[in-house]
C-alpha cells in the first residue's frame, strides 16, 4: 500500500490506470467477439452463470467458429461433445474450456433429422477425435473430414445407433 501511495505522488499510477480496453467482464467479451466475427451465423449469446456462457452457431460456420475460439479467444481445451436427439432436429453441443480465462462456453449447433452431418473439429482439438467417433457410434452423427470415423464402443458390424429415440432394442 505504501509503495502505491509513493507512486501516486509521482503520477505513475495515473498513467498505468488508463482506461482499459477489457473493462467489461470476460463472458461478455467472448460473446461480443464471437458475434462480431460471425454476424450472420452466431446467435443467442447468453451468460448462464458466472464463467459459463452459451451461444448457437449455424453448422455452416461451425469449423471457423471453433478455429476463432481456439486461436483468437483462448479456448484451448475441448471438454465434451454431446449429441441430443430432439423430435425435430439433432443438437450437437460443444463444451469448450479456456484455461487462461477460466471460462466454459456451450456452443450449440443443429442438424436436421434427415441430414445429420456437421464438420469435424478434430483438426482443431485433438481431443475431439474419439468424442466425435463416440457420437457417430451411438447417435449416428456424421462428422465431415474426420480422419477415422469408425465405431468405437460398439462392434464394427452393428447396424443401428442406439441413443436415437427411434431405436427399439
Amino acid at each position: 500500500m505504501s509503495e502505491g501511495s509513493e507512486r501516486d505522488s509521482t503520477g505513475v499510477v495515473g498513467i498505468e490506470k488508463a482506461p482499459s480496453r477489457i473493462g467489461e467482464n470476460p463472458e461478455n467479451r467472448v460473446l461480443r467477439a464471437l458475434a462480431e466475427s460471425f454476424p450472420r451465423t452466431v446467435s443467442g449469446g447468453t451468460q448462464l452463470r458466472p464463467g459459463v456462457i452459451r451461444a448457437r452457431v449455424d453448422r455452416s460456420d461451425l469449423y471457423s467458429a471453433c478455429r476463432t475460439l481456439r486461436d483468437d479467444l483462448g479456448f484451448e481445451h475441448l471438454t465434451m461433445i454431446s449429441a441430443v436427439d430432439y423430435e425435430d432436429r439433432f443438437e450437437i453441443v460443444y463444451h469448450i474450456t479456456s484455461y487462461q480465462s477460466r471460462l466454459l462456453i456451450e456452443l450449440i449447433s443443429t442438424a436436421p433429422k434427415d441430414d445429420p452431418v456437421v464438420d469435424s473439429v478434430s483438426s482443431v482439438w485433438g481431443g475431439a477425435n474419439w468424442q466425435e467417433r463416440e457420437s457417430y457410434d451411438l447417435m449416428g452423427i456424421v462428422f465431415n473430414s474426420h480422419p477415422k470415423l469408425e465405431r468405437i464402443l460398439l462392434p464394427k458390424d452393428v447396424l443401428y445407433h442406439p441413443l436415437r429415440k427411434d431405436f427399439r432394442g
Binding site: 475441448l78 471438454t79 465434451m80 441430443v84 485433438g126 481431443g127 475431439a128 477425435n129 451411438l138 460398439l154
Partner: protein
C-alpha cells in the same frame, strides 16, 4: 528390422480391465499405437433414459469401481443444476469430505496397481491394506464398501454416524503417517525410479490439445484444477494447494497423485472443522423442468462432466457423460511412440485407467 503389430489385451496384466492396446513395434521400440475400447460398454446413457431421476444414482455409482462416490456426486450436482435445487450447507460439507476420502482411496488403488505393475509387490500390499482404512470409514458413513449410493438430489442420504469425526481424524493422522512411508518406499526404490523418470513424457501443448485432464495434465505443468478454478460445492471455503509438476513424465504423474493425497487429507480436516449443524437433505422435486443442466467436477482421473436434458417428466431426456479417461486414452499413442515395449506398462499404468467409466 521387420515391424509388427502386437495385441496387449484384452486379457493382459497391464490393462487393468478389458481393453486392447495394439502396438506396432520395430525391434523393441514402439512406432505406432492404437487403443481399442468398448469391451465393457453397458449402454448406461441409454439405460438412464428409462429410469427416474433418483433411480439413476446407483447406476452412476457403477460408472467407476475405483471412485464411485465422485460419479454419483456429479450426477446429483447435474440434476440439482437442472432442477434448480439448493443443497443444505451441511450436506455440501459431508459431500466434500466423502469425495476427498474417495479420492485418497482411488489414488491408493491406483498406486497399488501401479506398484504391482512395476514389480514392487510390497507397495501393492501396503497400499491396499491402508486403503481399507478409508473404505471402512466410507462403509460406516454409507453402508457399503464400493458402490455407495450415498448422495441424493438435494443432499445426502444420512447424517454422519456416531463418533465419525473421531474415527476420521484418527484415519487421517494414520494416512499422513503412511503417506510419508510410501514416499520413502517408492522414491527410495531404484527399480521404481528407473522405470519412471524420463519415461512417457507428455508435452504441455500436446496434453492440452489432446484433451488430457486431471493429474496427468497437471504433471505436465498446467495449473488447472476445477476445485480451484471453477469451484463447485464448498471448495471455495477450503484452503489447499493444487499439485503440479513440470516434467510430464511417469514420475511427475506419480508425484502429483501423491501430493494430491496430502492435500485431500487437509481438506478432510477442514471440512470436519467447518461443518455446520443443520439439515443434510431436502426433498427434491420429482420432475425436472424442460431445459439443460451441467455438472463438472474434478474426478481423481480428470475432468468429469455430465450434461442432462430434461423434458418435464420424471426421467431424463438425455444424459451425456464425459469420462476423463476416455479422452486421456485417446492421447496414449502420442505418449507411447518412441519408448520401449517394456515402458508400456509404466506409461499406461501411470494414466490410471478405469474401464468402467471409459466404456460406460
Amino acid at each position: 528390422m521387420a515391424e509388427m503389430w502386437i495385441n496387449m489385451g484384452p486379457q493382459h496384466p497391464m490393462t487393468h480391465g478389458l481393453w486392447n492396446l495394439r502396438v506396432k513395434i520395430d525391434g523393441e521400440t514402439i512406432v505406432a499405437a492404437e487403443p481399442e475400447v468398448g469391451y465393457l460398454h453397458r449402454g448406461i446413457e441409454k439405460i438412464c433414459e428409462a429410469r427416474t431421476y433418483p433411480q439413476i444414482i446407483p447406476i452412476a455409482d457403477r460408472l467407476c469401481y475405483g471412485s464411485s462416490l465422485t460419479w454419483s456426486h456429479l450426477y446429483c450436482l447435474t440434476i440439482e443444476d437442472l432442477m434448480d435445487v439448493e443443497v443444505p450447507e451441511r450436506a455440501e460439507y459431508i459431500r466434500v469430505m466423502a469425495i476427498e476420502m474417495q479420492r485418497i482411496a482411488s489414488h491408493l488403488m491406483w498406486l497399488a496397481a501401479y506398484a504391482g505393475d512395476l514389480g514392487l509387490a510390497v507397495g501393492f500390499t501396503y497400499t491396499m491394506r491402508d486403503r481399507e482404512v478409508l473404505v471402512d470409514l466410507l462403509q460406516a458413513l454409507t453402508g457399503s464398501r464400493l458402490t455407495y449410493n450415498y448422495p441424493r438430489i438435494g443432499g445426502v442420504a444420512h447424517d454422519l454416524p456416531p463418533d465419525f469425526e473421531r474415527d476420521t481424524i484418527r484415519a487421517v493422522q494414520y494416512m499422513e503417517m503412511r503417506l510419508k512411508e510410501y514416499e520413502d518406499l517408492f522414491d527410495g526404490s531404484k527399480i521404481f525410479m528407473m522405470r519412471n523418470v524420463g519415461i512417457g513424457i507428455l508435452r504441455k501443448e500436446d496434453g492440452i490439445n489432446l484433451g488430457v485432464t486431471g493429474p496427468s495434465l497437471r504433471a505436465s505443468g498446467v495449473d488447472y484444477d476445477l476445485r480451484k478454478d471453477m469451484p463447485y460445492s464448498v471448495y471455495p471455503e477450503m484452503d489447499f494447494e493444487v499439485a503440479t509438476h513440470e516434467d510430464g513424465d511417469c514420475y511427475a504423474r506419480y508425484r502429483v497423485r501423491m501430493d494430491e493425497m496430502w492435500e485431500s487429507c487437509r481438506i478432510i480436516r477442514q471440512a470436519l472443522q467447518k461443518m455446520p449443524k443443520g439439515r443434510w437433505r431436502i426433498v427434491a422435486p420429482r420432475n425436472a423442468p424442460a431445459g439443460t443442466g451441467l455438472g463438472r467436477v474434478e474426478d481423481p482421473r480428470g475432468e468429469a462432466v455430465m450434461y442432462a436434458v430434461g423434458d418435464g417428466t420424471d426421467r431424463p431426456y438425455r444424459l451425456k457423460i464425459r469420462s476423463p479417461i476416455f479422452v486421456t486414452v485417446s492421447a496414449a499413442p502420442k505418449i507411447l511412440v518412441g519408448y520401449k515395449l517394456a515402458d508400456v506398462v509404466a506409461i499406461m499404468g501411470g494414466l490410471d485407467m478405469c474401464i468402467g467409466e471409459n466404456d460406460r
